[in-house]
């Protein structure tokens, strides 16, 4: 099964999900299951995910240069030769302190991330971890990291800005740094999540 979602307003992404469905033919009549038989049925095995996400590869909806008659739309040249590209997604955060405050911005977020083999499952731990496992003796939620994450022309800019949107009046922005990643990143191991305290 392949699901492709395209052309959402702010970002364009496609995800491929693989599912195996087993159908078991049964020639017997239906019979009720006893309580103790049902208890033997375990829903387990977890989930194996592969993902491929592309964000704002060729600019977002604000970058619609086709409609020159609409001045409300913020237009910048997003082509490869452009020296002032602002094509990516933008996240602006205001930490408060009234009307005089500004915004911390992650701007120009674009590129493609892909990974294969992110697993999600629960797992009991009652041994190992240099003796901690036996003391812990409980279930954890395990996120199995995908070993390799591939970045393809992923970039973003960290900036300070006086307005949330570049379309706002008197917009001023100071870029602090740009990060560009292209290629593989090794990310191995498991992230274990569990409740703490004394519930």
């Amino acid at each position: 099964m392949k699901i492709i979602i395209k052309h959402t307003p702010a970002l364009v992404f496609s995800m491929v999900l693989s599912t195996n469905i087993f159908l078991i033919a049964n020639t017997h009549a239906l019979e009720p299951l006893a309580e103790n038989e049902l208890q033997q049925v375990l829903g387990q095995g977890g989930v194996y995910l592969s993902g491929d996400i592309t964000i704002n590869e060729s600019g977002g909806p604000l970058n619609n240069t086709a409609d020159a008659s609409n001045p409300g739309i913020w237009q910048k040249n997003c082509t490869a030769s452009s020296t002032d590209k602002r094509c990516g997604a933008r996240i602006a955060v205001n930490s408060g302190d009234g009307a005089s405050s500004g915004w911390l911005v992650l701007d120009n977020i674009r590129g493609r991330f892909s990974f294969e083999g992110l697993t999600l499952k629960t797992r009991p731990i009652n041994s190992g971890f240099e003796g901690d496992g036996a003391i812990f003796d409980a279930d954890v939620f395990e996120v199995g990291l995908p070993n390799k994450v591939n970045y393809s022309n992923v970039s973003f800019t960290l900036a300070n800005s006086n307005k949330a949107r570049p379309t706002d009046a008197n917009f001023v922005q100071t870029d602090i740094l740009n990060v560009k990643v292209n290629g593989d990143v090794n990310l191995r191991g498991n992230v274990l999540l569990f409740p703490t305290g004394n519930p």
């Binding site: 205001n94 930490s95 408060g96 302190d97 009234g98 009307a99 005089s100 405050s101 500004g102 915004w103 911390l104 731990i125 971890f129 240099e130 901690d132 496992g133 003391i135 812990f136 954890v140 395990e142 990291l145 800019t157 300070n160 800005s161 006086n162 001023v172 922005q173 100071t174 870029d175 602090i176 740094l177 740009n178 990060v179 560009k180 990643v181 292209n182 290629g183 593989d184 990143v185 090794n186 990310l187 191995r188 191991g189 498991n190 992230v191 274990l192 999540l193 569990f194 409740p195 703490t196 305290g197 004394n198 519930p199």
Partner: protein
């Protein structure tokens, strides 16, 4: 730490579909008070992280945006950024050298805590905390981390710089955030311990490395801010500049005496007295600093207390 607030209450009600043998019974206050919303523990198991050009040939991992005084672009081109197990040999032994970070019995913790326990009156406080120092991370659970990057100025690779930290422990560190005075306020504690940090520079190809600057036995304990008495704030001003601020103590004392101190018994005296006797402070100890094998001896800074700090960015 056992939070007093009831953050999350999950109630699972099972109803038998055909025969209901019992009615729903209301829960008493005493029963509900035993339901305790606790935090989320996080442990990294067999963890390895490695990014940069050296992972697979042809990768790029660039940090740009800096300029030289003459306007040339400065790019930090990261060759290797790694987190791995101990004895990584300055990033040579990474991929088959995993590490557990955090302990199942003492994990990294994400939690909403009662502000009254941490000097923030009548508020819920978000806390992200590293493992506690009591029964803290074992030596085998302390990762090696490091970075190798090339300095590229105006398109020319100038130099390769390296920094490697061995067996890093951040046990006892935390970040607390809460909403106060219409903004985000916080308190930060660093508790950094490492037997060795190395810095050195090589030529553009990563060869002919210079002398190594080594910090041995580094122990840094620093707390910035103190609850809502002296909160830390992170803000961006309306002109687009970043400000990091540790609040001033000015005006905390209701009555200043002739010698400039706070009059005993006046408003704020108790809090100020507590601030100066057991308030936030920084202690830094480095057992030995060596440059190219020559020892410069140990250095220690203790009882450094910040009364006011403001860091503000400016356009050049």
């Amino acid at each position: 730490m056992i939070p007093n607030i009831k953050l999350l209450v999950f109630m699972t009600v099972s109803l038998s579909s055909n025969v209901v043998l019992s009615d729903l019974i209301s829960l008493e206050d005493t029963e509900l008070s035993h339901v305790d919303g606790a935090g989320i523990g996080i442990v990294l198991e067999d963890f390895v992280f490695e990014a940069g050009e050296s992972v697979d040939g042809g990768n790029t991992f660039d940090i740009g945006g800096l300029k030289t005084s003459s306007g040339g672009d400065v790019v930090l081109s990261i060759s290797q950024l790694y987190i791995a197990g101990a004895d990584s040999n300055q990033g040579a032994n990474v991929i088959n050298n995993p590490v557990n970070i955090g302990r199942l019995t003492n994990p990294f913790n994400l939690e909403l805590i009662d502000g009254n326990d941490v000097g923030v009156a009548n508020k819920a406080v978000f806390e992200f905390a590293a493992p506690k120092t009591l029964n803290g991370s074992r030596l085998s659970e302390r990762p090696d981390m490091g970075i190798r990057f090339d300095l590229e100025i105006d398109g020319n690779r100038a130099q390769s710089l390296e920094a490697h930290v061995q067996k890093l422990s951040i046990d006892g560190s935390y970040l607390r955030l809460w909403g106060g005075n219409g903004r985000t306020e916080g308190e930060i504690a660093f508790n950094i311990n490492t037997p060795q940090i190395d810095f050195f520079a090589c030529d553009a190809a990563g060869n002919n490395c210079g002398e190594t600057v080594t910090f041995s036995g580094v122990d840094i304990t620093a707390q910035l801010g103190s609850g809502d008495f002296q909160p830390v704030t992170f803000e961006v001003l309306s002109e687009g500049q970043f400000v990091f601020d540790v609040a001033s103590l000015q005006g905390k004392c209701a009555s200043v005496n002739v010698s400039g101190g706070c009059s005993a018994g006046s408003g704020g005296f108790t809090e100020l007295n507590e601030f100066y006797t057991s308030g936030p402070r920084a202690d830094i100890r480095i057992d030995d600093v060596t440059v190219g094998g020559t020892s410069f001896g140990s250095s220690t800074i203790t009882n450094l207390q910040i009364q006011y700090l403001e860091v503000r960015s400016r356009d050049l």
